[in-house]
């Protein structure tokens, strides 16, 4: 029997005996479980998309999407998020080479791009609210705000997650748990990019076409 004895936690070194196959198996389980969670999030967003699709013409005499959206701003957001998805992938690639330095750099870039995205989104919201087009205005604006800000909320959670991981990797290096969590995080981040493709196309591009 292959038994791997390695101390990865000082406080509990006496207990830290992990069978080699068990550790792999555990990663596999966590990965699958997290993937199932992402699928539930897909369903959650699909519910919001359905609501948006039903309500998007209910402007109650207020403005429509085509008069409100600044597509230029949205393209910038899209490119920021897409690039951050790419750098997140690079961070995962650096994990394979056990290059802590590179992992951290790419993670930092991902964080900055994600934060810029969120700032742009918030400034868009702020502009809408200041011009009297808040979520209280109409069913269309309610569904717009909720759909887009639910995605934004996920981004915010992703940003906090990145900070936590960054500090942990900095302090403890690429421990088994950090590696696992970083891989799960990358799934989460790519998933958010995928959701954004649909927000970009359905809300903004179709909105510009007055569909």
């Amino acid at each position: 029997m292959t038994v791997l004895t390695t101390t990865f936690n000082e406080q509990r070194s006496s207990l830290a005996v992990l069978r080699f196959d068990e550790s792999n198996h555990f990663y596999d389980i966590a990965n699958f479980g997290f993937f199932v969670y992402l699928m539930t999030d897909f369903v959650l967003f699909s519910g919001l998309f359905a609501v948006y699709a039903v309500l998007h013409n209910n402007t109650a005499g207020g403005p429509t999407g085509s008069t409100l959206f600044n597509l230029h701003n949205v393209l910038t957001e899209t490119l920021l998020l897409l690039t951050s998805s790419f750098t997140c992938g690079l961070s995962i690639l650096s994990l394979r080479h056990r290059n802590k330095h590179k992992v951290l750099i790419y993670l930092a870039i991902t964080f900055i791009l994600g934060a810029l995205f969120l700032i742009l989104e918030l400034s868009e919201f702020k502009h809408l609210i200041n011009t009297g087009n808040s979520w209280r205005r109409s069913g269309f604006l309610s569904s717009f705000f909720v759909l887009v800000s639910t995605h934004g909320l996920h981004i915010l959670i992703g940003l906090i997650w990145m900070i936590v991981m960054f500090i942990r990797i900095l302090k403890r290096g690429l421990s088994r748990a950090s590696v696992r969590r970083l891989t799960l995080f990358s799934l989460f981040w790519h998933f958010l990019d995928i959701i954004w493709i649909f927000i970009f196309s359905i809300v903004y591009l179709y909105g510009a076409l007055n569909l």
Partner: protein, 656 residues
Amino acid sequence: MIVASFWLGRLNSHIFPTDIITLGAALSILFGGVVTVIVVTYYKKWHYLWRELFTSVDHKKIGIMYIIVAILMLIRGGIDALMMRAQQATSVGTSHGVLATSTFQQVFSAHGTIMIFFAAMGLMFGIINLVLPLQIGTRDVAFPFLNLTSFWLFVAGMILINLSLGIGQFSAAGWLAYPPLSELKYSPGVGVDYWIWSLQIAGIGSLMSGINFLTTIIKKRAPGMKFMKMPMFSWSVLCAMTLVVFAFPILTVTLSLLFLDRTLGMHFFTAGHGGNMMMYVNLIWAWGHPEVYILILPAFGVFSEVVATFSRKRLFGYRTMVWALILITILSFSVWLHHFFTMGAGADVNGFFGIMTMIIAIPTGVKIFNWLFTMFHGKIHFSAPMYWFLGFVGLFTIGGVAGVIMAIPPADFQFHNSLFLVAHFHTMIVSGVLFGYFAGIHYWFPKIFGYKLDEKLGRVSFYMWFIGFLLAFIPLYILGFLGATRRIDHYSASLGWQPLFIIAGVGVVIIAGAVAVSILQQIVSYRNRHQLLDLTGDPWNGRTLEWSVPSPAPYYNFATIPIVHDRDAFWVSKNESKEKKRVLEITDILMPVNAPVAVYIGICAMLFGFSMIWHIWWLSIVSLVIFFIVLMIRISDENPYYLLSAQKIIEHEGNI
């Protein structure tokens, strides 16, 4: 609008109940709580409870906790039912019954919500927790910590819904809170907010449980247990959890949107300003229909195990059973409109969903026939679980036929919102879900506690449930035909409905007696536990893996993970010759440590829900921050396991 203060939000001196019934209920719950606390403190059991139960990640203990909470909620919901029956039996002509209209509305809303979310769901997750890992031959679920967190979220939701008795009021908008009635304009109080947040928190717990069990079944089955060798109960759980995973996000969305409407002045479901209240009905049933299958599929699984075991036969038509389950899983997502045929959709939409509804009856019928054929030519052993099963087959068929009648859209226009509908879904849920889990509790009890339950009282309880049920609900079918609508709190004496309502009330009293007998059964069985002791670990001559371990099941479940060669793995291995049995090689096991963080997360969730209900925003932020901190504490432990040495396992096994 109520002006909210910073520190107390919408809380003020008028929040306490004024009518005698609500006050009495709140005080009795408070009294019960205080007595429990005193008793536990007197016997100095807090430490024991905390270590062995509240923070334990052992799936069997979590299952026990789920079932205790669920039974308490069954009693609470049952008291609501008694009050409704009392009201409807007495409120006729000049008499206005025992309840004020506003109380009555809260009572029927609470009854539905509590029974579905906290009684039925609790029983379901309880039974699944108790049995599933044992049955698929694994030591624990995929994510033990998450499992405990789900349970505490369930408790947080349960506490919130009961808190509404004493602080503020509960929703008066029915168990699904249709807008525009549930919107701020027509329900300005906190009742609907209580409803939203207790469901939201418990629902997120259920969603996490769903992910957990789905992962457990897919990734942690014993070696050799291919999908087509998996026991029927595990199959039914797999299908039910698939439904949980894909249906509960819709509930999360719907509740959130209603909350945003009420709190931030959005216009999703409002009348006017571009809201669409029909979208709410559409969404809530897109979750709600799969939900009824979520409740019933594991009960089908229990019956499959029970009928095969007590008929001493292999389950008839295993493959068709599996395919029936899979078909039900998929079809249950395509029938939701049958809950609102009368909402005004066209003939093509109604026709499509009507036909889909009739189609879904087919796989269900297949299952009924398979169970009957399993009994055919079997050596049937009439134990209490078998009684529950037989009661189920009779009642469920009646309820199912009533359901198919209502699946015809033009007929549904007559039955919609009548007591006929109420009788139909109670037939399905009581005979299907409750009878199923009662059978399950009786069947698996010795595996968890090491002694059997008293047979005779089990049968008495069954008969009382059965007779009480018939008396309580057959009159409702008739009343529905006579035109009585659901949630009616007063009617004219000239209609002649009162005798039927009185019979229904008597039925509910008999059911209350049945619940009392069940509790008596627990007490009697505990006192006679030495005679009822299960020494073999296999009291019913079982067929599946959970019976291969000693009773009560050890905390590590299996000293060695079994290798499965057959569908009825244990049955086959029992009948093998001794020499063929594998030499057991016991090794060290990695076991998860206790997780107090899960309790803290539950407390945070409860505080967060409470602050959202009462608009105490600082408390929301504080509870979120605490949540973040405890989560960080949890994460900082990179290896939350301890090593259980082979030596200890051998000692434990030797003791048995």
